[in-house]
């Protein structure tokens, strides 16, 4: 289907106006340990303007290990998620999935025993979170490297309900806390005019 860019004109035609499509909505940069990070009231604040969201993060936890992972939840729900992961860990490619989870496994991060100043980073797209006629899906690219253990991964996930997303909740899947300096930013992406 051809989409007119307004170059041909014609009766009744309204030339599109360029509108910035990608906006920073909120950022949290932790100044101390926190067991969870929450973005709330999203429908009232953003649903009328944005179609998709993006979460960008650089995170470290105080788990007593070199590694941890972020659990991504919506609306505070601790069940009703499924995900798939394709991962490269050193010389090994692996894939795995879960069809009934307490959160989406969003990205690998550094734990307390990892190298100093090392944070795991991720970019997660959250697609159609405000729609009530489809389930919210996610896709994530993330990476974490620590001496002897390096990970690059794709994650895809689904929130198994058509309930619109009003809050985003991030936790350590190991039950640890995120540490100071961890940063979580959400962006809004407008749909077509």
């Amino acid at each position: 289907m051809a989409l007119s860019m307004g170059l041909l004109g014609g009766a009744g035609f309204v030339a599109p106006v360029a509108v910035p499509a990608f906006d920073l909505l909120e950022t949290q940069v932790l100044t101390g340990n926190q067991s969870s990070v929450n973005f709330t009231g999203l429908i009232a604040k953003y649903a009328s303007e944005y179609q998709h969201l993006q979460l960008r993060s650089a995170v470290r936890s105080n788990r007593g290990s070199t590694v941890d992972s972020v659990g991504l939840r919506f609306n505070g729900a601790s069940s009703g998620y499924a995900f798939h992961v394709l991962r490269g860990l050193n010389t090994t490619r692996t894939s795995y999935n879960s069809l009934s989870e307490s959160s989406l496994q969003d990205n690998t991060i550094c734990g307390n025993n990892g190298a100093a100043n090392n944070f795991g980073a991720a970019v997660t797209d959250i697609l159609d979170p405000f729609s009530s006629d489809k389930m919210t899906t996610t896709r994530c690219l993330d990476g974490w490297m620590d001496p002897g253990e390096n990970i690059i991964a794709f994650h895809s996930g689904v929130y198994l309900t058509t309930t619109p997303v009003d809050s985003i909740n991030l936790v350590s899947r190991a039950g640890a806390s995120f540490v100071a300096g961890s940063r979580f930013s959400i962006y809004g992406v407008r749909g077509g005019a």
């Binding site: 920073l24 650089a58 490269g88 090994t92 100043n117 490297m145």
Partner: protein, 151 residues
């Protein structure tokens, strides 16, 4: 209050082949950088290193494609003599309390699809990004764009 983000900082479209492109004097105004490269090189599958602040070392990286996974001590994009594209997310580039993590999506549709992650083990704010490979070139018409992302 929302902030428009993904600000175009610089774009170069090569008018002649070049083995080195440098984005310098990058302001610390943003949180992340995004480097977008689309074009061709003069050597199929040739890696072009992505170096921060002129540092040719102090990196660790992990890659995956359709047939392999491996670690390396350099972070790079994979070029091709047919059209390739690469998007590099340089996360928290202006932070001075973190090492810099880079995330890569890299495609050369007639040969490979790659993802990669790199870590520059420095807490210095990034003020330059160099894409380079001695002895090889990104070809005329290759476009490299750098964007700043607010946070």
């Amino acid at each position: 209050m929302v902030t428009q983000t993904h600000i175009s900082l610089a774009t170069v479209t090569l008018t002649s082949a070049d083995s080195e492109i440098v984005f310098s004097s990058i302001p610390a105004t943003y949180r992340d950088l995004i480097l977008v490269v689309a074009g061709t090189s003069n050597s199929a599958g040739r890696a072009f290193f992505v170096e921060l602040n002129g540092d040719t070392g102090n990196q660790v990286a992990q890659y995956i494609n359709q047939s392999s996974a491996y670690s390396d001590t350099d972070f790079y994009i994979i070029s091709n003599t047919t059209e390739f594209n690469a998007i590099v997310q340089i996360m928290d580039y202006s932070a001075t309390n973190k090492h810099k993590v880079m995330l890569l999506r890299n495609s050369s549709a007639d040969t490979d699809s790659w993802a990669g992650a790199g870590r520059w083990t420095s807490t210095a704010a990034v003020n330059s990004v160099r894409i380079t490979r001695a002895g090889y070139n990104l070809q005329t018409g290759t476009r490299l764009s750098l964007y700043g992302v607010h946070a």
